[in-house]
């Protein structure tokens, strides 16, 4: 066996091993990256559904999904994701924390002109259930009677802890839904096994999912955008009526897949109608549907399932200091909220190697 043959054999072996590892990593990334994205979508959707179910109103015990779920621990027994979802211990505390917040007011104020009941609900909250009820008598006008009814209703909404979900509006409290989102993600990705919740070189916890590092504790719902589809005016602009505005209904159906009855001859789907109260004001609530677009993100890095990454790291970490100064800092950045493309691709700015796995889903409540 000549020296040439020995070198050919050595190089050939290395090439075969590296190529084999790369193929395995390629298949792994191709298959499981889409699974990660799909599971994140399922987790986000289920967390929106759980929030809408308002479980804190029916079960204040720390049982699964009610007010809280069990804390998730990492492989060393330290807390990873807390199971406390809601901000408070009683129904009253939670209700006020969620619906007297500035986030709620900012998100729902634009919808008050469309939803009469939402407007009343918010008035009840603003006045802590003590909206002044104007007195009425046998000769009061319809406007006065309606004002009396509205004020009474606003106070009743506050007393009964009415929420936008009770009125058919899918409001999402970003903090609470994010907590549920993280809990769902951590359980899903870890296969309910705390051994898969590990710690990286910088001491940061992550869930090891098929070679991916999922930094679930930094996953969050980033934004909720509310869009109202008001289908109350018929094509000639008349209301009240029982026929939906076909162009608005068509846009709604195209976006959500939910059909509207009597639009383009459709005999199935949701029905819309507008009415008038006794003061002559159009009540639009039953002709409007709000769609919320939920944006979410979760930082993901890849550590691989073969020794290939370890090999590259070994080579990389043995670099010589050059003119520009010390070796590359490969610590993971903590600033996931403001992660930019340049940070992800550059190895000089905090050495970040995480990529935000972002997604978006639509959530609709039909009253």
């Amino acid at each position: 066996m000549s020296v040439k043959t020995i070198f050919y054999t050595l190089i050939g072996t290395i090439v075969v091993i590296v190529t084999g590892c790369m193929l395995v990593e390629l298949f792994n990334i191709s298959i499981y990256s889409s699974q990660i994205a799909n599971l994140a979508k399922v987790s986000a959707y289920q967390s929106c559904a759980l929030f809408t179910q308002e479980t804190y109103k029916t079960d204040l015990t720390a049982n699964y999904g009610a007010v809280a779920s069990p804390d998730i621990l990492d492989s060393e027994g330290n807390l990873y994701i807390s199971g406390d979802f809601y901000p408070g211990d009683t129904v009253e505390e939670i209700y006020l924390a969620l619906y007297k917040s500035s986030d709620f007011t900012t998100a729902m104020s634009p919808l008050r002109s469309t939803y009469t009941n939402l407007d009343l609900m918010m008035k009840g909250l603003e006045n802590n259930g003590h909206v002044t009820v104007p007195a009425i008598s046998w000769n009061s006008s319809n406007a006065d009677i309606q004002a009396n009814r509205n004020a009474t209703k606003a106070n009743q909404f506050y007393k009964d802890h009415y929420t936008p979900a009770n009125l058919g509006i899918p409001y999402m409290d970003i903090d609470t839904v994010s907590k549920m989102f993280r809990w769902n993600l951590a359980q899903l990705y870890s296969n309910c096994d705390s051994d898969l919740i590990q710690i990286d070189q910088t001491g940061k916890q992550f869930v090891n999912y098929k070679g991916f590092r999922c930094y679930v504790q930094d996953a969050q719902i980033t934004n909720c955008t509310y869009e109202v589809y008001y289908m109350g005016k018929d094509p000639t602009g008349n209301e009240p009526n029982n026929h939906a505005n076909e162009s608005v209904a068509a846009d709604f159906t195209a976006r959500t897949g939910i059909r509207v009855k009597d639009v383009n001859g459709d005999t199935t789907g949701i029905t819309v109608s507008t009415t008038k109260d006794i003061a002559g004001n159009i009540v639009k609530d039953n002709a409007a549907v709000t769609v919320v677009e939920v944006d979410y993100t979760m930082p993901v890095a890849y550590q691989g399932i073969t020794p290939l990454d370890t090999l590259f790291e070994f080579v990389w970490n043995n670099s010589v200091e050059g003119l520009s100064g010390g070796p590359v800092d490969r610590t993971v950045t903590e600033d996931f909220d403001n992660l930019t493309t340049s940070q992800v691709t550059s190895t000089n700015v905090n050495g970040s190697h995480t990529i935000p796995s972002a997604g978006k889903l639509l959530f609709v409540l039909v009253n």
């Binding site: 298959i31 399922v42 759980l50 179910q53 015990t61 699964y64 009610a66 779920s69 296969n191 096994d193």
Partner: protein, 187 residues
């Protein structure tokens, strides 16, 4: 003459080696193909369990029928849907019992029984891949006691099948939390 005899013997040796290597490569491709199909099926099973906390009767029957179709492939046997874990073995669906009383010793939720948000459920798929080799004699390995040698499982075949998963070389399981809250369920 000697070279000719040498050549004949070399050829006689090369041909079966080439045939065996070809079968080996074919078996690798077939294994990958079947593995990825099972992986896709397991993902659907897992997603159904996550979205409902269990496998509802209709979906259970559909998934069972789909997994059963794998048994029609000559290179696959014992394909089954995993619906639980009794602490020692995985429990496979027998195709009949959709809402059983949980057998004694079942430590995690049976995927045929509705549970509350957050409870774990073990689901998955399993099968045995049968490689093909030249001059292999035909054999039938059945999952039901009447059609094969019946030694591929342990337990009572008229109730839940308890499968020794070491007999199956492709087993993909997930232990997932149910993410649906049922207001009518008491924890």
């Amino acid at each position: 003459m000697e070279d000719g005899v040498k050549y004949i013997f070399k050829t006689l040796l090369k041909v079966p080696i080439i045939i065996v290597v070809t079968y080996f490569i074919f078996n690798i491709f077939a294994f990958c193909f079947i593995y990825f199909k099972m992986l896709g099926a397991s993902y659907i099973v897992m997603q159904t369990a996550v979205e409902n906390n269990y496998l509802p009767a209709t979906e259970l029957t559909t998934l069972h029928n789909y997994i059963n179709q794998f048994n029609d492939i000559e290179m696959v046997s014992n394909a089954a849907l995993i619906v639980g874990d009794d602490g020692t073995n995985l429990v496979v669906y027998d195709g009949v019992t959709t809402d059983p009383t949980v057998p004694e010793g079942l430590t995690t939720s049976d995927a045929r029984r509705k549970t509350q948000y957050g409870h774990n459920v073990t689901v998955g798929v399993t099968c045995r891949f049968l490689p093909v080799w030249p001059l292999q004699h035909g054999r039938v390995e059945g999952f039901n006691p009447g059609s094969g040698d019946g030694t591929d499982y342990i337990g009572d075949p008229t109730t839940d099948m308890v499968v020794d998963i070491e007999a199956n070389n492709i087993t993909i399981t997930y232990n997932v939390p149910g993410l649906k809250y049922y207001p009518d369920l008491i924890n």
